[in-house]
Point group: none
Chain length 203, copies 4
């Protein structure tokens, strides 16, 4: 019967336990390492071993808090996700433009890689799918508010198909992200969605 030979202790300068509870430093180090890694090598080059190594953490520590690779990716995304301000520019088109530009710019960076990864991961992981769905709905509500604000501002007595416009905008941006087309123009799309003088055909 062999014993697992433990390594020598006493290496100074390393993080240690801070008691029987999660060490925030460790968590931060892991999330940072993960973010850096995915930014550097993309989703395909992302792996737990390397994250642990960069974070100077044990692999078991990663798995203690994030049971799967997907869960870690999601956590990184959440910790990095922008705290969106749905700015009031005074007009619906302005608001949409501001929102779209904001999101597009964010997604063009490291965060975009992450979000794509999460969507991909959600296709084969129910937990991730659930989290993503929750997040999507929050975003959708934010957009609906944006449209509602236009009503309140008096741009229109009642915006027809408000929820659908929000969903269409959302979908459009998702697809632009996932097909790497964030650089493409999208003013026409916004003008189309911001046109409040449609005939409300579904009334």
């Amino acid at each position: 019967m062999a014993m697992t030979m433990a390594t020598e202790p006493k290496k100074t300068g390393t993080r240690r336990s801070v008691g029987a509870r999660r060490n925030p430093e460790t968590e931060a180090a892991i999330l940072n390492a993960a973010a850096q890694l995915i930014a550097e090598k993309g989703l395909a080059g992302f792996n737990m071993q390397e994250v642990a190594k960069r974070a100077k953490a044990g692999k078991a520590t990663l798995y203690r808090w994030w049971p799967t690779r997907g869960a870690l990716i999601l956590a990184v995304y959440k910790s990095r996700k922008p705290n969106f301000v749905y700015k009031d520019t005074g007009s619906l088109l302005g608001d949409l433009t501001w929102f779209t530009n904001e999101l597009t710019n964010i997604w063009k960076g490291e965060i975009g890689v992450f979000f794509k990864a999460i969507i991909a991961e959600a296709q084969s992981n129910a937990d991730i799918a659930l989290s993503l769905d929750t997040y999507r709905k929050e975003r959708l509500d934010g957009l609906i508010d944006l449209f509602t604000r236009a009503e309140k501002r008096g741009e229109c007595t009642e915006i027809p198909d408000l929820a659908i416009r929000a969903e269409l905008l959302m979908s459009f941006l998702w697809q632009r992200l996932m097909t790497n087309q964030l650089d493409q123009e999208c003013e026409t799309m916004m003008k189309f969605l911001a046109d409040l003088n449609q005939h409300s055909p579904n009334k």
Copy 2:
């Protein structure tokens, strides 16, 4: 649509070489096995070993024709992709409805799982991404034709934002697929997109 489920490899023991050329039976058997496997276990459970085993083929045979896992997935998808008919129902809304219903029904089956897998895989595989993009554009062209037909029919002298409407519809359906919401109602969306009396705000 082109999704004729080819017959299972003949039960006559094992397939043999048919000389110094590609054995079409082998190819069919592999594509079938791959399709079946992905339908059964999803992308996560898809692996070359198992495909080879189910197809009673050698792994080398797989790699001879499809240099990577991604290439095989893509090939299976191509061999299974529905051969869409963009039916002319006499009205734009009718056409859209027909198209949407058709696609939704297809995606609700095995093909949907497959398409989601492809999109997911495309996030970390450039080859797949390229092929997906090509396919997406073809589909987009088909939709644009559908809108153009409405003009020709005289429903409108000129449909404003034609390409954007097509892209919005496409995006919307993609997102419904990827968020497992294909069962949700989408008439409102179609009516919105089919409303030809908009002010053409971007002229």
Copy 3:
């Protein structure tokens, strides 16, 4: 969904598959590496990872042929076990001395470390235990022959307690091995066991 990124191929100089069957070179390389490692670092320092690395083999290859660490140790022992000659020196005491010296010398080297490892491993692994038992019985038979030879030589009409003497010798040497006492004198023991003029108390 991430793909496992395979390493670049074409590294020349490495062993490759020799078809759908066990590569004897690989097996030899692994057994050698394992033998070397255990000789170098002892049982405690023996691990599969390191064996694989030294043998320039994949870990999976080790586990394909030897399902556990114990199985590999056993295999190495078997491949290294001396092909014992129970030499006929003309007298029982001479034969015993020759045997004991031979075995002691063998066990003082790398092989001894192995044999101890196997006995240890057998305490918690039924397969190993079985193999060890088989081997032990073979050795016992060899010893019994050695005693029988003394009868045939006419040293005695009938050696009393022949099987027990063999077992006692065996046990004695095992214990000397396991308690690292192979350097201790053991002539007295041999003379005691070789004394054929005992009263045969069990008749």
Copy 4:
């Protein structure tokens, strides 16, 4: 023998500190938990975490007193080792029989599993090896006394090869233990060792 199974740690919630000194209840609880665990799952299933958990003790408490896993195993063994009485039956053969039966019976129970574990562990752990050796020598001395007693009793003026007979008996029993042969007959062996009329060939 000292193997009184101490009572389970008191069910009064958790044990508390008894001041700046070792709490004997805690020690007992840990030793009990360890003994129980090794009896239940064998050496392979023995681990510090589980011992701590069962003893409702902190891991640090274990390591405070027993610096390594091996040390704890050893401590448990010591606390459980039978307090042998080398009974005087009036004859050497009787004494040997009594001793052998006693030891065999003990080893057939939990203690046997434990002793095997210790021997196994000793092969890759120097501390254990040392302690085991000390214990072995004590036992050997006990056996030598047993033979000496026969002399004193006048069964023989001088028993030849006294120490060797003791060692042979010891080794024989160890091997029977380690090869799971405790059920085998061993009277022949005892008679052979108890035969005092040998020719003392080594004088």
